[in-house]
């Protein structure tokens, strides 16, 4: 093994990599799932434009989920067993949702008659089910999979909030990528999404410390609490900024950028709440980590390949920049 690398805190590095992958997944697939959930609110022509705005990207976006789960599996195998064992059914529900949504991209355009209608509906339904399941899993995860009806209710509230969060991402993405009538609708959708997110974030912020003593101790430890208040304050500021940018005339990129900022801040808050656990109250990242030899071998790959992935992702977004004006397949 490489002597210089062995002195690194490899579990820490991989926890960071896994966190970045999951954040990238949530933001990237979040906007395309959000667009999917908004489909019923649009006309058939608008639906085609909406799908066209995410068509070239959804596949790569979902790959971040595979990387995030892959890193959990390969870097923290013990935690993977516990977490996905606890979340077995919601995971299955999410996967079935993602499957329908993924193939519906193709089928809704290639099938005929009522088949096309069915896939259009499954596109929406799959997006919704996958989003709800993801939020539900987050809710179960942060409360350490505690049994009891209250905890399940909490998980459903988080599920609903994540749906709202994805709708906000999807709507602000459409503000960026569309124009005219559809863009006007997107402004309205984004405002609803933002209100929904505000409510969800408020509920989750109040409920999480109550549901979890570990999280409570982390946040209510004066005087550190005052320093930590930067996170909610910054989130509030970003939310207001997004709200004020949701009007014709403001730069089209602002609502989406502001929303991404909210996600990054929420993610930092969540990471702070959980660290150093990978399974809350049960297992730290060091308890769960793979052998150093495996982590070192993967670190080489990640260090070389991740910058390349970033590079060609930027290339792809540059190729498809600008407003969408036509459906994917004519």
């Amino acid at each position: 093994m490489n002597p210089e690398l062995s002195s690194l805190d490899l579990p820490m590095i991989f926890a960071a990599l896994m966190g970045i992958s999951i954040l990238a997944y949530v933001v990237l697939d979040g906007y395309d799932l959000g667009v999917g959930m908004l489909m019923p609110a649009a006309t058939p022509d608008e639906q085609n434009l909406m799908v066209a705005s995410i068509g070239p990207f959804w596949d790569a976006n979902e790959t971040w989920l595979v990387l995030g789960i892959g890193l959990l599996l390969v870097a923290f195998p013990k935690a993977h067993g516990v977490v996905l064992g606890e979340l077995y059914l919601p995971v299955a529900v999410m996967l079935i949702g993602l499957m329908f949504r993924g193939v519906a991209f193709e089928f809704r355009m290639k099938a005929l008659g009522w088949h096309a209608e069915l896939w259009n509906w499954l596109f929406w339904f799959g997006s919704f089910v996958a989003s709800l399941a993801q939020g539900f899993m987050l809710g179960r995860y942060i409360t350490g999979f505690e049994p009891g009806i209250g905890y399940w209710l909490f998980a459903f509230i988080v599920g609903g909030s994540v749906c709202g969060g994805y709708v906000l991402l999807g709507a602000t993405w459409l503000v960026l990528r569309t124009e005219g009538e559809l863009q006007k609708k997107a402004y309205a959708w984004a405002k609803w999404g933002l209100l929904w997110v505000a409510l969800g974030v408020a509920l989750v912020s109040i409920a999480t410390p109550l549901a979890s003593a570990t999280v409570y101790d982390k946040w209510f430890d004066f005087p550190r609490t005052f320093g930590l208040m930067i996170l909610p304050a910054a989130s509030l500021a970003a939310g207001i900024w997004v709200w004020r940018s949701l009007r014709p005339g403001a730069a089209d990129w602002k609502p989406f950028a502001g929303t991404v900022a909210i996600y990054v801040l929420a993610f930092l808050g969540l990471a702070y709440s959980i660290f150093p656990y990978v399974v809350v109250d049960r297992m730290t990242i060091w308890d769960a980590a793979s052998h150093d030899s495996a982590l070192t071998f993967m670190l080489w790959g990640a260090a070389i390949v991740l910058p390349c992935i970033a590079g060609y992702t930027v290339f792809s977004y540059r190729v498809f920049r600008g407003k969408v004006r036509e459906a994917l397949y004519k």
């Binding site: 979902e62 599996l73 079935i96 193939v103 495996a294």
Partner: protein
Amino acid sequence: MDAAEALLLARTQFGLNIAFHILFPSLTIALAWFLVYFRVRYERSRDTAWLVTYRLWVKVFALSFAMGVVSGIVMSFQFGTNWPGYMNTVGNIAGPLLAYEILTAFFLEATFLGVMLFGMNRVPGWLHVLSTVVVAVGTSLSAFWILALNSWMHTPVGHVVVDGHLIAGDWLQVIFNPSFPYRFTHMMLASGLTASFVICGLSAWRLLRAPGDDSAMKTLRVGVLVAAVLAPLQIFVGDLHGLNTLEHQPAKIAAIEGIWKTEKGAPLVLFAVPNEKERRNDYAIEIPKGAALVLKHDADAELKGLDEFEPDRPPVAPLFYGFRLMVGIGVGMLLLAWFGAWRLRRGGALPRALLWTFAAFTFSGWIATLSGWIVTEVGRQPWLVTGILRTKDAVGHISGAELGASLTGYVLTYSLMLGAYLVVLTHMAGKGAEQQEALK
């Protein structure tokens, strides 16, 4: 619920998922390279027939690729949920190989797929050709990593054991383990044949509906010629793969050949009904000394029978029948491809009976590939990793109710997806001729 039932459910669920999944990569790995060829032909000739071909097959590719991606995501979860003992024991080997597949292949193919599918009018021609090439490289790289891991599970080398866990001693040995070169080549050729016959089948279908379709004729020609070259090559490589298996996993070969007892000059069993209870073959049709000749190139050589490996041996029936189905289809492919190539050389319109035969063979590659995978994977049992980890020791503690509920969900989902896939494919093939008219 007892442990045996949990094991059976976990295996059924994983087996169903992996069998559904492999249908699509086995088509797209090689189809990506066909796309490169179609795309380059169009770039050079500007002949709209090639453009029609490219546009049709890029859609087939997109559809198949999406099916592969979504079922592959399910697998990335099931590795851990259904087989926690697997990651616990060999995770330090399997994990990095899977991580390399994600990092080097999945992102590459997913990102450039977007450019390939939707970017034709947005990037210069050369860059679009390059994107098509990159997608093909990505799919092949993905096959490389996953087959390295799968082969290592069959013939594990290059590892050391520390506190009951395996860690890699030499990564090059782990990756290039003894069965990897054979398995990888065998799978790449299988993909080549699967894609060729799907191409031949759908093109024949187009020609049956519109006999003068220039684009369909050009595409059929490519498919037939590639199949005519790959089919004999595959039989040759398959034989080498078998000899490699005889060296490393003799019990698998004994089950394939239906050799119950060690004997000298064992016969080649063409067909029989293996009788697990009595440990013999009923109604056997045999060629005397055939197995010894094929496997040892010596009529009187000794071949080990299943009795040598009791109780650690695979069940005979799935291997015995699966192998014969695979070889039978392989021979059928060879004959059809050669006959087709000969008819094409002679010139003139192809007889409708031949076109119908190609149409009937559209998914022959799927059946052969699935049979082959069943032979090799069931043939590894009772081991998950040969000599290191038993399948029953790797199963998790997911409840039967949860497994049953999710299994039902997956079965319904897959049935709907596969049905829709076949309907849409047939429909797209029928539309080819109209598209060509529209372009003219």
